[in-house]
Symmetry: C2
Subunit: 139 residues, 2 copies
C-alpha cells in the first residue's frame, strides 16, 4: 500500500467519523442537519450572499433558498437586500441564530480538545499548518 493509498483511507475514515459525530450532535439538538451546516457557515461570516453560502455548503442555490427559508421562519437568520446589486441577498444570523451557533460551536471546540489531548504541541501545530495549506490550495 502506497502512502497516498493509506492517506486516502485515513481521510475517508476521518470524514466519516466527523460526519457521524456531527449527525449525532445535531440529532440531539433542535436543529436539522442542513440548518446546522448553514448556521456553522453563517457564524463565521458576518454577511454572505446566497451563492457564496451555497458554495460553502456544496449544494445548489435552489437548495440553499429552501434552507434559508426555514432558518428565517425559525428566526435564526435574516435576508437583507443590497443597494449596490438589487439581485443579491445578504444572509446573516439573528441573535437567536448566534446563540444556536455558539452552542453548536462549543461542541466543536470539545471535539477539537478531545483530538488535541492525544497530540503533542508540535503535532498540533503541524496538523493545523497542514490543514491550512490544504484548505487554501485544494478546496
Amino acid at each position: 500500500m502506497t502512502i497516498n493509498e493509506e492517506l486516502t483511507h485515513e481521510l475517508l475514515a476521518f470524514f466519516n467519523g466527523f460526519s457521524s459525530w456531527e449527525n449525532s450532535i445535531v440529532r440531539s439538538s433542535e436543529l436539522t442537519v442542513s440548518e446546522a451546516h448553514a448556521i456553522e457557515v453563517l457564524g463565521e461570516h458576518e454577511k454572505i450572499n446566497m451563492k457564496g453560502l451555497a458554495q460553502k455548503l456544496g449544494v445548489t442555490t435552489g437548495t440553499t433558498t429552501v434552507t434559508v427559508d426555514r432558518l428565517e421562519k425559525k428566526n435564526f437568520a435574516r435576508r437583507e437586500s443590497t443597494k449596490e446589486d438589487r439581485r443579491v441577498n445578504l444572509i446573516s444570523l439573528t441573535d437567536l441564530g448566534k446563540k444556536a451557533f455558539e452552542e453548536h460551536h462549543d461542541f466543536h471546540m470539545h471535539l477539537t480538545e478531545q483530538m488535541t489531548s492525544i497530540l503533542s504541541d508540535d503535532e498540533i501545530k503541524q496538523f493545523l499548518n497542514t490543514l491550512k495549506k490544504i484548505n487554501a490550495e485544494t478546496f
Copy 2:
C-alpha cells in the same frame, strides 16, 4: 484566537470542503450521495452487517435498510444471511458494485494526490500519522 479555536475553524473548513468536493463528484456520477457513501464503506470491508454499516455511516439501521435495498435493486450489493446468527445480514459488493467502488476510489486518490502535491514528504508522513491517531482514539 487560541490554537484550538484556529484548529476548530480549519477542521470545519476542511470538512465542508471535502463534503462539497464529494457532492460534486457524486452529482456527476450515476450514484446518489448515500449510495456512494455506502459503497465507500463496503469497498473497504469484505463483508459487514447492517448495524456495523449503519455505524460507519453514522445513520440509523432503518436508513441503512433503505440504502441497501436500493443498492440491491441496482445490483451493486447483496445481502447474505449467516448460519451462526440468523438475524444477521452480511452485506457485500457485487462485481458491478466493486467496479463502482474502484471508479469512485480513483477520484479520492486524485484528491489525495492533489493534497500531497503541495506538502513535503515529512509533512505527509506527519499528517498521516496524526490522522491515524485521531481516527483510532477519537472516532
